[in-house]
Each structure stands twice: as C-alpha cells, then as structure tokens.
C-alpha cells in the first residue's frame, strides 16, 4: 500500500477554471441528478427552518394565550403540529432522497474518472512512463481519486447545505428581530477572526509537522530496507539515537499543530455560547419591554436560529479548505488526462492471407500466412506484401531528448530468419535500437523498413503484433500461469498453451506447481524463481508465434544450470525467426548470423564471429578480455 506522501501546501493556478472543468465532467454525466440533490438540500433546510419558526407560533399563538384558560381548546394546536409534521416529513424525505442520489453521483463519477484515467493511461507513449515516477502515477489513482470522492460526496453538498442554511436562517433572523441579528453577526465576525488567527498558527505548525513526518518516514524506509546491513555492521545503537532525535522533533511539531487545531473547537463553541448568552439576555430584556413587538416565542425561535447559525459558518471555511485540497488532486488527475496519447498515423494493416497462383489475397480465416495490406494514399489501390520479417535500418538517428542524440547513423539489415546480436558496453544503445523497431519511440532521422514498408506507415498495433518481445525484467501478471501464457494470444486453446510451455522448457516445472497451470502468480510472479519467470515469459512470446523476435538476454542473475534451460528455451524460440538479441552469452553471440558492436550509439563493427575476431578490434577485446590490437 503506498504511503500518503507528505504534500507541500497546494497551490493552484486557476482554481475556478479547474473547478469548472470538474463540474463539467460531473454535470455532463449526472447533471439532472445533481439538480435533484440541490433541490433536496434546499427542501431539507427549509423544512428545518420552518420547524424552528414554528416554535414562535407555538409559544406566542398557542401556549401563551391558553395559559390560565379554564377549558383550553387544543384542537388548533393539534392542526398546527400536524402541519409542521407535514413539513418535517417532507424534510426527512428530501434528506433521504438527496443522500441516496449523491451516492449514485459520487461513486459513479469516481468510477468514470478511474476508468477514464486507466484507459487514457493505456494510450500514453512509453516516454510518459519513463519521465513520471510510478509512485506519482499510483498516487493519482489512490490519494487524488479519494480526495475527489470526498469533495463530490461531502464537501460540495455540505457547502451548499451550509450556504442555504446561512441565507435561510439569516432571513428568518432578520424577520424576527434586527438588533439581535446584528449582535449575532458581530459575534460571527469575531468567530471568523479568531478562527483565522488560530488556523494561521496551526497551519504553520502543520507545515513543519509534514516536513518532520517526511523526514521520519524517509529514515524509517531507508533504515528498514537496509536493516540486514544495519545488523551486519552492528549499527543498531547509532540508528536508535538518530531515530529518536527525528522522532522527538516530530512529536514537538505534531503536538503544537494538533493543539492549535484542537483549540478551534472549544473556542468556536464558546464564542457561539457567548453569542447565545448575549442574545438571551438582550432578547429577554427586549421581550420584557415588548420593544418592537418582540415576544417570548420570537426569542425562543431566535435563540434556536442563533445556535444553528454558528455551526454552518465555522463549517464553511473547513469545507472550502478541503475543496482546495481536492482541487490540487484534481489538477493532477486532469494533468494525466491531458497527456498527449501515443500518435498513430499508420494505415498499413496486418491481414490473414492466402496465396493462389502466386497472388496474395486477403482472407478472414486464420491461415498462418500473413500479409501487409497497403492501401496507397494516392489512388486507393491495394497492395499485399507477404510478412516475412525483413528489417532494415537506414541511417537512423535517435535521441530520447531531441536535442541529445544517442544513436547516430545506424545502418543495419536483417533478412528473414537471421539472428542479429547486439553487443557493447552498458549504455551503448543496444536496448534503444530494439525499442525503435516496435516504435516504443519514434526516430529523429532516417528510415526503418519492415518488409520494405516504412514502419511509420504501419499501424502500431499491427506492427507490434508481428513482433515478439522477451524483456530482461520479466513482468508477469497476477493471474493463473495459464492466463499469463495466454496473454500472448488471447484466443489460444489450452493445448496451444501447453505446446508453448513445452517449447519454452516451462511445462515441466509448471506441472509441479501446487495447482499446475491454474496456479495463481502473485506480485509479479514472486512465488517463482527468476529463471522460472523467464521461462513463462518465453512461453508467452512463443504462443504469439511472431515472425520477428526481440530478445533481451538475462545477465548473470540466475545460476548456470537454470540458465542453460532458459537458453535452450530461447534457442528453440529463435529457430526460423528473424531475431534481434541483446546478447550476454557467448554461445548466443557466436551462433549469430551477424554481430553488431555498438559503442556510444554508433555501430563500430559488424560481421560474424570469425570475421570480428580477425579484426582484433573492440569485439576481440570484449571477447578475449585482451586489449584491442588496432
């Protein structure tokens, strides 16, 4: 579970524009529902105030006149109470109604937002994931979505409720008595001032609390991840001392921050009480003198209003605050939604084909024979080119950052079925080249052709369908082994899955798992060894049966014996396919049809093993460990 990261105080450039955008999102889907909520809130508040007003009538019109009467007639009172009961009934009903509709809105909005986020994220280019930390992306799904839900389901409706209540109560208070209303307003002014003062103190300490909390959490995280090293170096005492110092500092700021925040409650309540007392006294005197027709019943109603006026006022600032917090989250959500999706202007598609008399034609059924369907832009004529796996790089330049070219003038060609190995030191550009073939990144200059077609013209999805890829970090999903292998070909039968697993040498160990092919892999395949995970990834590539394969061989993280099994699986997979392999194994390199030696983004040598050895250059140096002789 990701920890809530300490956040700097949110600062938003255009809060209103952001808010408007969010409301547009909500109202477009739930406009009528939100209107119902609004009406429900107004109804609920009105019923409440009506009830309070009734207190005046109760005392002035019914109780006081009846006091001292011999045979008081309670029938009019009963009618009056019945009428108020009617109002109340409507109030309860609207409260129930708007709360119910709110669930539908808030949960629905959150679901839609989540779905939008995810589906948009899937369309973003790899570059986005390179430049944004996974923690930040995740925090949008967890923290930001959650504050958004709170804002839609709580802050906004409560704010509306408070606003309606304030206006409503104010009107009734004015009707009841103007001087007392002014007195109440003055007290409200004082409350606001005091609140502001305390909030200022509190937020200063809260900021330092956040900072201290960040430090403590950082220390905990760092030291606990290195706990075994701490033990080995018997560094426990120093650790405890350092921790205690940070922890004490956190206590100090947390104590002060909470203290001031806590003060707000009693201070507000007592200013409210003071206001109540003053009104009671002043009102009592007014009622006594009968000044301006003020009665005991009016005082009763007014005092109730006075109480119900203070609460929404102190709530408004709280709600505004949480809305601002939520807007900061909203900004991040929209920022993700505003990211430019991966562009795809390709129009050449991959189709099943059959060959009759040397002519390729398109066919709906799976034939095992694939062709590129090329609809020419100019005259709409259609060409079919057989998919063979012929790849050519022609003078390719590339940089992750357009200003910093990391691959220079790369030329290479692979004829169908050839095995091309890339070797070179870390950072020479091996992985980069393979990322260009499947268009994870687009090149700056030059051309890449696939079966003679510029890959920019091929639809990305179809291009990637024709390429198999086994990465060095094997990512498996939380699902059964069966599902993980089937990921390569969703409509594969069980038999096909078994066959692919056998090809990858994975069948044996899979059958020994507790539930065989139905064993659920957890947390990135954590219950399997590194080698076993690689075997499943190979099976996943095998089932897709692509004509071109990109392999990133594992470095020495697995032991030699397992490695041989993996190697064997890879070899079987490579047979008969055009393969680009980022090689770390001598055997792979030696058995390649062509070895490309890369250095700082340039191809410096190329040829087969014997040829390169005879050159006595960089390859010779890499292979033998002896210095180059040229």
């Amino acid at each position: 579970m990701p920890r809530p990261a300490p956040r700097p105080k949110p600062k938003i450039d255009h809060p209103f524009r952001l808010f408007a955008r969010l409301m547009k999102f909500v109202l477009k889907r739930y406009g009528i529902a939100y209107l119902i909520v609004f009406i429900g809130i107004v109804g609920s508040v009105l019923a409440n105030t009506q009830g309070t007003m009734f207190m005046q009538t109760l005392i002035d019109d019914y109780i006081t006149p009846m006091i001292g009467k011999k045979n008081p007639d309670f029938t009019p009172l009963l009618y009056a109470i019945a009428r108020v009961a009617g109002f109340y009934g409507l109030g309860v009903l609207s409260t129930f109604l708007y709360n119910k509709v709110l669930i539908y809105i808030s949960q629905g909005t959150i679901r839609d937002m989540r779905d939008n986020l995810f589906s948009h994220m899937q369309d973003l280019p790899i570059r986005y994931f390179d430049t944004h930390s996974h923690g930040d992306i995740m925090s949008v799904y967890t923290n930001d979505i959650d504050t958004l839900r709170q804002m839609i389901s709580q802050s906004i409706p409560q704010l509306v409720n408070s606003a309606v209540t304030i206006i409503n109560v104010l009107i009734f208070m004015i009707i009841l008595n103007i001087p007392l209303t002014i007195l109440t307003l003055i007290m409200v002014g004082i409350t606001t001032l005091v609140t502001k003062k305390f909030a200022g103190f509190s937020s200063r300490y809260f900021l330092s609390q956040q900072k201290d909390l960040g430090r403590v959490n950082g220390f905990i995280e760092e030291m606990l991840s290195g706990q075994k090293v701490v033990k080995v170096f018997t560094h426990e005492k120093e650790n405890i001392e350092a921790f205690n110092e940070l922890n004490d500092r956190l206590f100090d700021s947390a104590y002060h921050a909470n203290c001031y925040a806590n003060y707000l409650g009693p201070v507000n309540a007592q200013i409210g009480n003071l206001s109540y007392v003053l009104c009671a006294m002043a009102g009592g005197l007014l009622a006594l003198t009968g000044f301006g027709g003020f009665t005991l019943g009016k005082l009763a109603s007014f005092l109730t209003f006075n109480k119900s006026f203070n609460m929404p006022i102190s709530q408004v600032s709280m709600q505004l605050n949480s809305i601002i917090m939520a807007l900061a989250g909203c900004e991040r959500i929209f920022a993700l939604l505003d990211e430019e999706p991966e562009a795809d202007n390709g129009y050449v598609t991959l189709v099943n084909a059959k060959e009759e008399n040397g002519v390729l034609t398109e066919t709906p059924e799976r034939t095992g024979l694939w062709a590129w369907k090329h609809v020419h832009q100019a005259d709409k004529s259609v060409d079919y080119v057989r998919l063979t796996g012929d790849v050519v790089f022609d003078d390719v330049d590339f940089g992750y950052d357009p200003d910093k070219i990391v691959l220079h003038n790369v030329d290479l060609y692979a004829t169908p079925g050839q095995k091309i190995a890339f070797v070179g030191s870390t950072g020479a550009g091996k992985t980069t080249i393979t990322n260009l073939i499947n268009r994870f990144y687009d090149i700056q200059d030059g051309k890449i052709r696939y079966d003679g077609i510029n890959i920019n013209k091929i639809k990305k999805a179809d291009l990637r369908h024709s390429l198999g890829i086994v990465l060095q970090d094997t990512h498996l999903f939380t699902a059964t082994v069966m599902d993980n292998i089937r990921y390569g070909k969703l409509d594969a039968s069980d038999e096909e899955v078994y066959a692919a697993a056998r090809l990858a040498n994975a069948d044996g160990f899979i059958r020994q798992l507790p539930n065989g092919y139905q064993t659920i892999l957890t947390r990135d395949g954590g219950n399997l060894s590194q080698g076993q995970r690689q075997l499943i990834a190979i099976a996943r590539a095998a089932i897709a049966d692509p004509p071109v394969l990109i392999l990133d061989e594992a470095t020495s993280s697995i032991d030699t014996r397992t490695e041989r099994i993996v190697q064997n699986g890879m070899d079987k997979l490579m047979a008969g396919r055009t393969t680009f392999v980022i090689a770390h194994r001598l055997s792979t390199v030696r058995n390649s049809d062509c070895i490309i030696v890369l250095e700082q983004g340039r191809v410096i040598e190329r040829g087969n093993h014997d040829h390169l050895i005879s050159l006595k250059g960089r390859y010779y140096q890499l292979y033998t460990g002896n210095p180059a002789q040229t």
Partner: protein, 584 residues
Amino acid sequence: MLKTLGAQIKEYKTASILTPIFMLMEVAMETLIPLLMASIIDDGVNKGDTAHIYIVGGWMIVAAILSLTAGCLGANFGAKAAMGLGKNLRKGMFENIQNYSFANIDKFSTAGLVTRMTTDVTNIQNAYQMILRMCMRAPASLICAMVMSFFISARLASIYLIAVILLGGCLFFIVRRAMNYFQQAFVKYDDLNESVQENVSAIRVVKAYVRGDYEKTRFKKASQNIYNMLFRAENVVVWNAPLMQFTVYTCILLISWLGAKMIVGSSLETGDLMALLTYCMNILMNLMMLSMVFVMISMSIASGKRICEVLNEESTLKNPPQPDYEIADGSIRFDHVTFRYSASSENPVLDDICLSIASGETVGIIGGTGSSKSTLVNLISRLYDADEGTVYVGGKDVRTYDLDTLRNQVSVVLQNNVLFSGTILENLRWGDANATEEECIEACRLACADEFIQGFPKKYETYIEQGGTNVSGGQKQRLCIARALLKKPKILILDDSTSAVDTATDAKIRKAFREAIPGTTKLIIAQRISSVMDADHILVMHDGKINGYGRHNELLITNEIYRDVFESQTQGGGDFDEGGAVHA
C-alpha cells in the same frame, strides 16, 4: 492488544488522564447554559425581573469562560497524549526492530514494517486522540443533557430516553453492517490499485503485445465491481442522516405537544420547554458522534493489531548471559549443522553440514540458486542460529560470543547490499566509526573503489543518494566491500558481491586480498568460476548439502556439477559482459 498499546503511553499517562477530566468539565459547564437560559426566561422575562436577567446572564458568561478554559486544556492535553503515544509507538517499534534477528526481519516484509511504523501509527494516534476527547465527552454530554432533562421534567425526558435507545440501536446496526461491506470493498480496492501498479510497471509488455484494449476491459470490469460493492455499502449508510432527522423531529413535535399541554396545565414553564428542545439536539448529536467514534475505533483495530505484532515480536537470537568478547582466530568449523527457515518446513535448507576451514584460508563457494550458499555463510556471523549441530568460530561455539563482537569480527558483504544516503566517507565509516580518511582510502584501494571515487568531482565527499542510486551496480559492490574491510575482520565473507564487477577488476580485488590481508579468512560465494578457481579450497553446494570440497584441479576431475559449470562458462555459455568474457 490494549495492554501492549497501553504500555506505550508511559510519560503521557498524566495527560491521558487529564484530557477526559477537562473534557467532562467542559461538558458540565456547557450543559448548564440552557438551564440558566430557562431561568432567564421563566424567572426573568416572565416575572419581569431585569436584575435577574443580568445576574443569570453573568453566570452564563462565567460558565462559558470556564467551559472554554477546560476545553482548551483538554485540547492541549489531548494533543500531547495522542502525539506522545504516537511517538512512543514509533520509538518502541523501531527499537524492537533493531533487536530483530534475520529470521524476524524475514517474517515481516520491509514494506510491511514501514506501513506499520507510518500509516498504522498515524491511525492509532488519531483514534487515541478521538477516544480521549470524544469517548468521554460524547457520552458525558449525552448523560448530562439527559439528567438535566429529567431534572426539568421526567415525563418529557423519558421520550428522549426511548429515542436514544431506538436510534442508538439503529445506528449500531447500520454501522456494523456498513463496516462489513466497506471492509470487503476496501480489499477489492487494494487489489484494483495493485493491478494498476502492475500495469504501470509492465507497460512495455502490455504495449508489446498490444493488450491495451484487453486491459481496459478488464479494468472496467473490476472497477464496476468495486462500484457495486461501495454502492451497496453506502446504501446502508445513507439511512443515517434521515433517521437522525426523523428522530429529532419526532421528539420536537412530541415535546411541543405534550409540553404545551403541561404549560397550560401549569406543570411546566415556557423557558423549560425551550431548554428541553435545546437538550434534544444535544443528546442526539452526541449519539451521532458516538457512532462516528465507534467507526473510527473499529477502523483502527486492524492498525493496532499490526503494531502489536511488531512490538510483541521477540528476537529469535539472544546475547548469551556471559558473553565472550575475544575471538582467537578466523577458523570456522561446522559440526553436523542442520537448518530450516521455519520449523514447519519438511526439508532442511542445510542438511547435516560438516566443514572445517583454517584461519587465513580462502574458500570459494559455488552452486545453483537455492543450493543454500548464502544460508551457510549467514550462520557464521550468527545471523541465524542452526537448528541442530554447532557452528564454531575461533574454536568456540558462535552462541557463546557477544553478538556485536562476533559480527564485527566476521564481516559479511551481503548479496542484497545497501548504501545509505550520506557521503562516501560516511558510508565507509559504518565499518569503523573512527577510521581516518587515510584508512578509508586504503580500504577503497584494496576494493578497487578508489579508482572511480577519484574520478568524482567531490571524491570522498560525494553524496550517495538513498539506496545508492547514483552509483552503478559494480561501483556499489566495490564500496560495500571497502566498507566491510574497514572492520578489519578476522573473517571476510563476500556473498556474490562482485557479480556486477568486471572479471579483470574482480581478479585485481582478489589479488589485493591475498597480498594485503593474508591472515583474514575469506569466503567467496560466486556464480563465476573465475572468481573462485584460484581459492585454497572450493566448496560445491547442492540442495543444502556439500557436494564437493577441494581444489580447482581436483574438482574438475571428481565433481560433476563443478565440471558442468566450468564447461558451460568456458565453452560457449559464459558471460559476454563489459570488460571481458572468461578467458581461461
């Protein structure tokens, strides 16, 4: 659980006791106010006594001020007690974790421990503050208001009593039911977030297989599922507000009707009626508050349990009562040692190991993954204790030594090694806090780290980021070796510590060891044959057993596994990495 957590209150006991007391005082004063108000109406306004209005009004202000004072003091002590508990919980856990053995650490994952020390502590700390301030205040306020109401009119107040019981029952039912649903939904919610995480980190796989649409459909289904669950949960909670309103309104109407009759019948006064209506809100609001406290407490129970697990975990390794502080030499002996990671597992990880290594020897250890190479060496510095048999260092059972002494003399460079944020020099001094800069540089020379450190602009003052992310894997390994060397140990263990270092440098480091620290016993675990083949002895591990022990040339003839590995690395299966392949 309560006992364990309660024990951590310690110096904040006074604050913890004072908080509810002040909260009670605040409540008592607050409850007086409506009663005094009734007196203003009945004895002041209705009787035309202006002086009485002033006097009682004055008392009301006094009550408000007292209430304010008590409230603020309660706020202060509450914050102190709760934040103090949080501090002590963090402290207690951290100190206990420092005492954990490797076996304890393995039991909890790092992420699990971090969550317990951060999120869980925050939950408990907030819940504690809530309990101290509200758990007393809400019921007290409720009871006070109830008592006052009975004081005014027992007949009318009995309506409240019934309302409280009915509403309380309903709230309890709603909250319990909703909590149940919410907890189910949250589990699913975590699953969903985990699958997003999975997708983000595996985005290349998703894109390579063009599974974007497939993932979208899957996500949508899971998302809808959670929507349904949360919808159901919220649908239970939705009854809260209208139910509360319904109760309040019913009470108001009943009191108005009956109260009116009683006033007319002269058994109640108008002011009393007003006070009763104020108490009505008071009572039911507090009931609502109680249900919230209930929710908060039940939410934090899980956190409390998780914290207690850490606090109550006892280290599986203890220092002997009269420890030995002297280690004679670097000899090592395993005498019929058997080891299991957990008592319940059937197959031992190490099975009846007998082995003797002389002081100053260099021993290479080789074997496949899962052959228990690391486990074997971890027993030497007593990172784990053997289940059966004994491990001897310097001729004595390792369990007789002082743990710190043993671990300082047996220096291990772990497989998953970590550098900490701080300068290179600070990191090196983990090995020896008092090492001079010259000593540090010397250790780095031996570990072939000096050559690249000198290339950094700030040399030994270069700041290492958390987790050592700003140095390469090979550089990190060499720094870790230098750090271990600074301990000047009698036994040095390298657990696959040069895997990211190129073969030439690897050889250089081993040569430096031979020349500079000949007296130190060196154990080297490696995947590469070249890293071990010049050792005095080579140990071949397989399935937790010793499969072969001897010199390179002997093992090539007698040991099948060794020969197999050797051949695969030299004849076509070896590394083709930076800096040179095997060139035997």
